[in-house]
Symmetry: C2
Subunit: 278 residues, 2 copies
């Protein structure tokens, strides 16, 4: 008998986080849907789960702020990433009348934003309500005729809805990046990525001085993102992703140089780049 | 008889955008509340209003994505900025029973995020619903006993609610920056700020090369923000604010240098720095 991994994800059942979790972990595992991103972090911190899966960024709509804020405080490491193509569909209950126009459209804020142009041109004037997830939207649609949910195909299956419009997102190349969290990081594979947090304080030229060591050491920065520091108003913290593993000599050298020019660094984790196994 | 300016803002009445608009424009003007950030941009583009006022960034919760996305496409210029301290209060209808716990808490997503810790510790387990604005939340609370809204004092006055908890935001130093939009920019005052958009494509080291001219010319970058480019998945556009006016010799020099190292620049506007008139 083998021990299954316990994998928590941003639920309820039918979310894209579930799809990300099941596509990342091969074979049978024990999957645990949780109500919020904070709950996923806590479940792994308390050892109720071995891994947690949360969305961090969408290619059209940008960062998931709540995940970034949790990364600032967590003791967990990022041990993997997975990118899932996002296809949104409009769905209603099977008993809904064959109407042209739904009386209400419900979905998660990010999903609504990803379909904004389609909604404005197809259903101008129809009331739109933000709910906590697109799976929750599907659940609401299943309970009330004439309410249309925007969600993925998995949600339509789980909540037994009929899809009335397929692939309605504004960008055909729409995908979301998810992070896999665990108490310890991943070993080097030779094709890794490292995520760090950098606090600079509010000094002019600070960002330039942070980027200089990357340039001088030839380390490729794949991502930079700004968030309020939460310590001082109008001060920022930088989320940075770059190629390499935290155990690489060149990356250790980078950390040394960064420490001389910034207030603080937090290493969020080193993990295999998505797609590098292909 | 004088002609009043027509100033559109993100409504409904009672929002912090209204407070920002009335604190920026002195004297009597004609104020027009509109339903969305997109509508405020369109109203000025169509000349239905002379100026538009929209939130762009909160000191705790970060950028307002919808405003950033509208800035990418608009022909308008930023002609001013105003920073408003944000104090959130919990309010209920005067006919609500003197209960300890509301049956539902409603507010805008950003306001809920700014009060997240307070809500978790004070009202754990009480259902929370996101609505389109905190003024809309106040309106809902006025219609239904036992529903509590999180909103500003102005909303409590307009919707005749009683405040049951004052100043519940997690950070005492919580403020929001608003932009004033108009068809043409503002003249130099000597204490100005310029906002630009920079598209770099997905080249390694691109950001470093953009920052180099700022460093060499001694131009102080006050802000940098990343957003998905919307053109290609996983490509980014940078929003940058720096000190100086677009007509300054040094800034013209900067633009020349930036053009040699990046794909494209869009000048969003030059305007007096908030507080510089003091």
């Amino acid at each position: 008998m083998t021990n299954l991994f316990k994998v928590s994800y941003l639920g309820p059942e039918g979310t894209f986080s579930q799809l990300a979790a099941t596509s990342y972990f091969t074979g049978e595992q024990k999957y645990i849907p949780l109500a919020s991103i904070d709950d996923v972090f806590s479940s792994v911190e308390r050892s109720d789960a071995d891994f947690g899966v949360v969305p961090v960024e969408n290619s059209t709509e940008g960062a998931v702020n709540n995940t970034q804020d949790c990364l600032v405080d967590t003791s967990l490491q990022i041990s993997g990433e997975v990118i899932v193509p996002i296809t949104h569909n409009m769905m209603v209950s099977h008993s809904s009348p064959r109407i042209e126009t739904p009386k209400l459209i419900v979905s998660h804020r990010q999903s609504l934003a990803q379909c904004r142009q389609w909604l404005t041109s197809t259903y101008p004037g129809v009331p739109i309500e933000e709910v906590s997830s697109n799976a929750r939207a599907a659940q609401l649609a299943s309970e009330q005729d004439g309410v249309a949910a925007i969600a993925g195909e998995l949600a339509a299956q789980i909540y037994k809805l009929k899809i009335v419009h397929r692939s309605i997102q504004d960008k055909s190349n729409n995908s979301t990046r998810f992070l896999v969290l665990s108490p310890s990081g991943a070993s080097p594979t030779g094709k890794d990525k490292t995520s760090i947090l950098v606090y600079t304080g509010n000094k002019p030229g600070a960002l330039f001085r942070i980027l200089e060591p990357f340039e001088n050491l030839g380390i490729s920065l794949t991502k930079i993102e700004t968030r309020p520091s939460k310590i001082e108003a109008w001060e920022y913290v930088f989320f940075m992703d770059f190629e390499g593993h935290r155990e690489d000599l060149r990356v250790l050298n980078l950390f040394d140089r960064l420490k001389t020019c910034t207030a603080e660094i937090k290493i969020l984790g080193s993990y295999p780049r998505f797609g590098s196994e292909l």
